[in-house]
């Protein structure tokens, strides 16, 4: 166990102590204690910066299940470090924010911080694991803790709905991903991601390669809310705002991005990867930004915008796969896409985190998040306004903020696609920049909505629950830090370029970098008037126009009928699955034993009949048949007549008497076949059971006692005849195919010599195989006790007895 192992496990350990802290130190907000941990972790991870900057990595293994090759292996390279810093850094800010956001007295804080710490540990585990099974374990931990966090206010119906939805979708993806991991580990014969990546070329030619890729991508797409799995994210907005800021903008939804980036060395050489990741990402980006404009809830806008930005990053990662097909680093234009993806990932975490916190502030100080009720808050909340301007303008891609730079690089990557002559892209290439541009226009519009609909326009005090005022300082610290980062990264992007971005990008496309060289990362503001700058100017111009005339065209959204939205499909699908399975279950679970017996017997006939037919198992061999006496024939007639009477009798009493006759005849057969002990027992037992049947008959209720003939049912007759025929055929076959001599010679020889008895049946029962007898005695005792219990113990409803009545 190394330092990194403890770093992953520390949040879990801390989570154990949170309830104690909450109870013992109730005067201090629990968040203050929790805050220490992510700050310490952040500091710890910073120490790894020099290691990864030189493109080195740290790998440490702790045994977990070594016999199965499953170990808790931590692996720290540029990509892991970037995510670890994001998780611990934004984690600290979110904890700080939550201290002011959540009330010490009204909320159950210990739940909140336990779940949040669980999530943080799980997320660190995801990004630091090298073993796919460990990664999967932490992955499911994030799903579960996210489920708990979304339903934090569990008494609200919408919270529970959102939590369930996100749980179902992400766990579905998680299970698919596990399947992908297992396929991968079968292909590569290892659970280690590094070892898998080392044999990427062989894996590419494996027949299961595509299956593994699609399964792993399903996991990534569900977690990162890509089309069509994005629907859980807007409903997850019922969580407390710190949770939304942390999970649903900065960390959890980026787990899918991380997965795609981490598995790029394995999969990205394939053309399918380029197409699937690139197009799904781009389509998600356009679709979500288009839908974000029609939202009226601020968190709804931010949720869709998160989906859209994640799609952007995803599409960049997909396009970055094209860089693997170039030979030399110098003319490799598609490394830009990878670098842009990493850069935008950082940028998105900063500005989206701050925007969520700003929305939380607005909600906290006005009591609503509905943009139709808000307006004119600029003069009441100047700091919040400034923060939201920075965040939203960065999101829209305006200079001088960092969003501008990554958006430019995004455009550049898309435009460069037109020069690509791989993967049959040809004429389709022109669609990529067009779609990217359209998505950016909508992004611009909803970013403006966030700022101007809330802070400018008419102030409507009557619609607000509280009198708005500026938030407490503590609540503003975190968004201010994030907004500062937005500006700093915007003005001095090269702070990041070789410290974080280059190592992370190198981890995504390691195969194209020769030893000792580095990717060339240079992000700068002014790079001349070129296509991407013109595109940005176009975005701003068209965006402003569309925003101005929004009331005129907003009716477009009404043309999308609510019935064909994905949510509708999800709900209808869930409903149909529930109803369908109910209907199926109700169709065959009728509650009648008769039906179940029909199933059992029908299966019996089908299985045995099919086996006999398929294996050609029927044998008939008359050589071992003994001669039949005439009197035996007569007795068989007696037996048959009595049996048929049981079936046909009108009165139950006749049936009981006939059953007695059958039993007596059987005992006569035992006599004929020389089994005196059996005949004795059979006679006694038959008499007793006939008496018991009489007892039952006497106690039949008067009302239903009327005697009527059993109705004939063709199905029953067929099944009964089928069972009879099958058993008869089996009996004949078994008798006709004896392969070994019987063991009975041994008993005949040794009954007297070894056991000292003359009655062989009895000697077998009590000596050679006395154990069976012991347990048959036990069966009889249990039956007797059971009958006694049934008769004597009569518990009424509510537990009262009427034993003495």
């Amino acid at each position: 166990m190394s330092l990194l192992h403890w770093a992953v496990l520390a949040p879990f350990i801390m989570a154990v102590f949170v309830p104690v802290l909450r109870k013992k130190a109730a005067l201090i907000h629990t968040g203050w204690f929790v805050l220490i941990l992510p700050i310490v972790l952040f500091g710890t991870f910073l120490q790894y910066l020099p290691v990864t900057m030189n493109n080195n990595s740290v790998m440490q293994t702790a045994s977990w299940i070594p016999s199965l090759g499953i170990n808790f292996t931590v692996y720290m390279d540029g990509l892991s470090l970037l995510f670890a810093l994001l998780i611990s850094g934004i984690g600290s800010l979110v904890v700080l924010y939550s201290i002011y956001y959540l009330s010490k007295t009204k909320e159950s804080l210990h739940h909140f911080y336990v779940y949040l710490l669980m999530f943080m540990g799980a997320m660190l585990g995801v990004v630091l694991s090298d073993n796919v099974i460990t990664l999967y374990m932490f992955w499911e931990f994030t799903s579960i803790s996210s489920f708990l966090l979304i339903a934090y206010w569990y008494d609200r119906e919408r919270s529970r709905y959102g939590a369930l939805k996100s749980m179902l979708i992400t766990v579905f993806g998680g299970l698919m991903m596990l399947g992908g991991f297992l396929v991968l580990s079968i292909m590569g014969n290892t659970f280690s991601i590094r070892e898998l990546a080392a044999q990427a070329t062989e894996l590419n030619e494996h027949p299961l390669f595509l299956l593994a890729m699609i399964l792993v991508l399903l996991g990534a797409f569900t977690k990162s809310a890509q089309f069509p799995f994005y629907i859980w994210l807007p409903d997850a907005m019922e969580a407390p705002t710190p949770v939304s800021a942390y999970l649903h903008s900065a960390t959890m939804v980026k787990a899918g991005i991380y997965l795609v980036a981490r598995f790029s060395p394995i999969f990205a050489f394939s053309g399918y990867w380029f197409w699937i990741v690139g197009t799904v990402g781009l389509f998600t980006m356009v679709w979500a930004s288009f839908n974000a404009v029609k939202q009226t809830d601020l968190k709804g806008i931010l949720a869709f915008s998160t989906v859209s930005q994640l799609g952007l990053i995803m599409s960049l990662l997909g396009i970055g796969a094209a860089s693997l097909h170039f030979d030399s680093l110098d003319d490799n234009i598609f490394t830009t896409a990878v670098i842009a993806a990493i850069f935008h990932l950082i940028n998105h975490a900063t500005f989206k985190g701050s925007l969520f916190m700003v929305v939380g502030v607005i909600d906290h100080e006005t009591g609503t998040r509905d943009i139709r009720k808000l307006g004119g808050l600029m003069s009441f909340m100047p700091i919040t306004f400034t923060l939201s301007v920075i965040g939203a303008f960065s999101m829209a891609g305006l200079p001088p903020f960092n969003g501008f730079l990554s958006k430019e690089m995004f455009f550049l990557s898309m435009v460069q696609l037109m020069e690509l002559n791989l993967f049959n892209i040809d004429t389709w290439a022109v669609l990529f920049p067009v779609l990217a541009w359209v998505g950016s226009v909508f992004t611009f519009i909803y970013s403006m909505i966030i700022v101007f609909k809330v802070f400018t326009g008419k102030f409507q005090p009557k619609k607000l629950e509280k009198k708005p005022h500026e938030a407490p300082v503590g609540m503003l610290i975190s968004p201010i830090i994030l907004a500062l980062l937005v500006v700093v990264f915007g003005l001095f992007p090269n702070l990041l370029s070789y410290s974080l971005i280059q190592p992370a990008a190198a981890a995504i496309v390691p195969s194209i970098i020769p030893p000792g060289e580095q990717l060339y990362v240079n992000i700068y503001f002014w790079h001349g008037i070129n296509a991407e700058l013109l595109m940005t100017i176009g975005v701003v111009a068209v965006g402003i126009l569309l925003y101005k005339f929004m009331p005129k065209w907003v009716r477009v959204y009404e043309y999308f009928p609510g019935k064909i939205t994905l949510n509708q499909f999800y709900n209808a699908g869930l409903y149909a699955a529930e109803r369908g399975s109910n209907a199926i279950t109700n169709a065959y679970m009728t509650g009648f034993i008769r039906t179940y017996l029909v199933y059992i017997f029908a299966f019996f006939i089908a299985a045995l009949g099919f086996t006999m037919w398929a294996k050609d198992a029927f044998r008939y061999d008359a050589s071992a048949v003994a001669p039949i006496g005439l009197y035996e024939g007569c007795l068989i007639i007696v037996l048959l007549a009595a049996t048929l009477t049981i079936l046909m009798a009108k009165s139950r009493l006749t049936s009981i008497i006939s059953l007695g006759a059958v039993g007596y005849t059987v005992s006569l057969f035992f006599v004929i076949f020389r089994a005196p002990d059996l005949a004795l027992t059979q006679l006694v037992i038959e008499t007793i059971s006939t008496a018991l049947f009489l007892l039952c008959f006497y106690h039949l209720p008067k009302l239903s006692r009327h005697e009527e003939k059993r109705r004939f049912q063709a199905g029953n007759a067929i099944i009964a005849a089928g069972v009879g025929i099958i058993v008869t055929l089996l009996g004949i076959s078994a008798h006709s195919s004896k392969f070994f001599a019987s063991i009975n010679e041994y008993y005949i020889e040794n009954t007297y010599e070894k056991a000292g008895g003359e009655n062989m049946v009895n000697v077998i029962l009590v000596d050679f195989r006395g154990f069976d007898t012991l347990f048959e005695i036990a069966v009889l005792s249990v039956a007797a006790l059971g009958i006694y219990g049934l008769i004597k113990l009569r518990l009424e409803k509510g537990g009262e007895t009427n034993e003495n009545k």
């Binding site: 005439l630 009477t645 009165s651 008497i657 007695g660 006759a661 005196p676 008499t687 008496a691």
Partner: protein, 94 residues
């Protein structure tokens, strides 16, 4: 010689069983059937006796005794059931 005679008597007894089973099925009343069952018991005694002669064994003698007892008990139980509606009555003192 003796074996043939025994075989013939067995056959006759079996035919008698068929007659009894006819009565048992046909009825028409329950006492008819009970008497048929009782007679079947007696028939069983005879058949067992003949069979044990035929097989030259004395192992079946206790079966003969048992059938006698059981047929008696069974018939009495049936008779009591038909007469009183129950086989074992409750002790009135309790």
């Amino acid at each position: 010689m003796i074996e043939t005679i025994l075989q013939i008597s067995l056959l006759l007894l079996a035919i008698a069983m068929i007659g009894l089973i006819y009565r048992l099925i046909k009825g028409p009343t329950v006492p008819d059937r009970v008497v048929a069952l009782d007679a079947m018991g007696v028939n069983l005694v005879s058949m067992t006796a003949v069979l044990s002669m035929l097989l030259d064994t004395s192992n079946y003698l206790d079966i003969i005794l048992l059938i006698g007892i059981l047929a008696f008990i069974g018939t009495v139980a049936f008779a009591k059931f038909l007469e009183k509606g129950e086989v074992i009555e409750y002790d009135r003192d309790q």
